[in-house]
């Protein structure tokens, strides 16, 4: 669906050249939600702008469907942009237009007849859940509502590809989740391919199928999201994963725990993969008739699987521990004995 081949972008400034994107090659499949994550200055913004020709690569190629974006003439590119739409971190709505007028803006550009515009706008307002807000101005909406208008506007010409430029970075966590759910829903309903860039790992975790990690203009790691979480190879990926897991206070003082449970062993159970939906731990402790105290835990859901860890204090002898390890391992749960 989308092919980026050896794309490079160099910005020439007075003093020096800045290599924003450095020899990036990516393939994005039809219908997938593909994430690009990186810290600011990693080149992800420039990369996503190449996909609709807002930036042209200094060398290399960008292909969407049958069209080579990087060599199209301006007229054809404008036409293509109606099918490769974009939503933005700061929504970029026209304050001078109402919600309905903002959504119909791309339709006006595409020359859709007035009557069809009206019908399409009504459908989209319903789709993004803004019924009753048609005649409000953007200044009367909350951030989440503004982004819904942005999404409706981006969908108005029935695009093949939706580009999300830090689309949730200006939203609070709850609103972020609502917008992410909406993106998944429209992908499923409209068979859309979504490319999103973000610096927030939980966005990748929550909705992406595959992701690329960028640093210094290069893609340092690409893969299915779960693989990135289970087995991050590059330092940057590890940092993102670690930040995401440690975003809640999980620091645990083993000394204190040992004082509280002097006879117990402290185990760290690691969950990687789809099995963690089943009540594995509960089944196993029942089977061996064990008691456990949960000390702390952090389990995260990705798009379709879970990963994370659980610290427990458990009274257990060596034999049972061996059995427990074996049994849990069959369900892809790892066991580490702490201290």
């Amino acid at each position: 669906m989308i092919d980026i081949r050896n794309a490079t972008k160099i910005f020439k400034t007075k003093n020096n050249d800045i290599q924003a994107v450095d020899d990036v090659t990516l393939h994005i499949r039809q219908g997938e939600i593909f994430g690009v994550i990186g810290y600011s200055g990693a080149g992800k913004s420039t990369l996503i702008r190449m996909l609709n020709g807002l930036e042209q690569p200094s060398s290399g190629e960008v292909v969407i469907g049958a069209d080579v974006i990087s060599t199209m003439n301006r007229t054809k590119l404008r036409k293509k942009r109606q099918k490769v739409s974009m939503i933005f971190q700061h929504f970029n709505l026209l304050w001078s237009r109402t919600v309905a007028e903002n959504i119909s803006f791309p339709l006006e550009i595409a020359g859709v007849p007035k009557k069809d515009q009206k019908r399409r706008v009504a459908e989209l307002i319903e789709l993004v859940g803004l019924t009753g807000r048609e005649d409000n101005y953007p200044s009367q909406l909350s951030g989440g509502q503004k982004q819904r208008v942005g999404i409706a506007r981006a969908l108005s010409n029935e695009p093949e590809v939706l580009l999300c430029d830090e689309a949730t970075s200006a939203l609070d966590p709850e609103t972020t989740d609502e917008v992410l759910d909406l993106l998944v829903r429209i992908r499923d309903e409209m068979d859309l391919t979504i490319v999103l860039i973000t610096h927030e790992m939980h966005v990748i975790r929550k909705i992406c199928d595959r992701a690329a990690v960028m640093e210094g203009g290069r893609v340092v790691e690409t893969g299915p999201v779960l693989k990135l979480f289970q087995n991050p190879e590059h330092g940057v990926t590890k940092r993102f994963v670690k930040d995401d897991i440690n975003d809640e206070e999980t620091a645990l003082s083993f000394e204190e725990v040992r004082e509280m449970f002097p006879t117990s062993k402290i185990l760290k159970l690691g969950f990687v993969g789809s099995q963690s939906k089943a009540p594995i731990v509960s089944q196993v402790i029942k089977k061996y008739n064990l008691d456990l105290n949960i000390l702390s835990g952090n389990i995260k859901r990705t798009n379709n699987e879970s990963y994370g860890h659980l610290y427990v204090a458990i009274d257990i002898n060596e034999t049972d521990l061996g059995n427990l390890e074996r049994e849990l391992a069959e369900h892809d749960v790892t066991v580490e004995v702490e201290g």
Binding site: L93, E108, L163
Partner: protein
């Protein structure tokens, strides 16, 4: 000394020299010059301002000479004092208007003097538009003309309106200057009658009428700018 002052004051408010039909004619002439020159200044200033804005932001190599030339002309005409501009433009005015006298003769200088000023205000107004909104329109496949019509103008409308309000008020002042050298209007009345015949009551009336015109322009401008601003 005190008595002289009181006498002068009394004469000013006597209105015995005021010929009200002359005041009416002069008011009409001032309004005529102000309205026509404001309309044309709006058009020319808008075009120049958009050219300045587009050529300064565009990355195309060809546009920077466009910016250079436009900016130079704008700065040049803005730097010429208005009274000198009128004299300087006499040959041009003769050709274009057929006369250099009366309200007609003042229009070219008024418009050419005010357009560069308004062009700069337009440019400032356009620069205040969120870049992201323009980028969003580009990402939807909008061409330059569509962006001008559907993004730049509506999104900068309050600034365009308050800018033309300031310019129109400045033009009222310019018509008075033009009046002194024969363009008619309230400035002409204040000078030719009020000053040369030493009839200060006429000057006072001309001043009050000009103030009323200025206040009305300001109020209309403020209300309109506020009404279109949905931010």
């Amino acid at each position: 000394m005190m008595i002289g002052f009181i006498n002068a004051f009394a004469e000013m408010f006597s209105f015995e020299n005021v010929r009200w039909d002359d005041v009416l004619t002069a008011t009409y002439e001032t309004l005529y010059m102000t309205v026509i020159s404001t309309v044309f200044t709006f058009i020319f200033g808008l075009v120049l301002g958009i050219i300045l804005f587009l050529s300064s932001k565009s990355e195309h190599a060809a546009s920077s000479p466009v910016y250079g030339v436009t900016a130079f002309l704008v700065n040049l005409f803005r730097a010429i004092p208005f009274i000198i501009l009128i004299i300087l433009l006499i040959p041009f005015t003769k050709v274009v208007m057929g006369t250099i006298m009366g309200s007609q003769g003042a229009l070219p200088a008024l418009i050419i003097g005010a357009s560069p000023f308004y062009a700069r205000l337009v440019e400032i107004g356009l620069k205040e538009i969120d870049k992201g909104v323009i980028e969003a329109a580009e990402s939807m496949g909008a061409g330059t003309w569509t962006i001008i019509r559907k993004v730049l103008l509506p999104e900068s409308l309050p600034a365009l309106i308050s800018g033309i309000t300031v310019t129109a008020i400045m033009l009222v002042g310019s018509t008075a200057i033009a009046g002194v050298i024969g363009a008619g209007g309230l400035g002409n009345l204040a000078y030719m009658v009020g000053f040369t015949r030493n009839q200060s009551d006429v000057t006072l009336v001309a001043t009050v009428v000009i103030l009323v015109i200025v206040f009305i322009i300001q109020i209309i401008g403020d209300l309109t700018a506020k009404a279109v601003d949905k931010r």
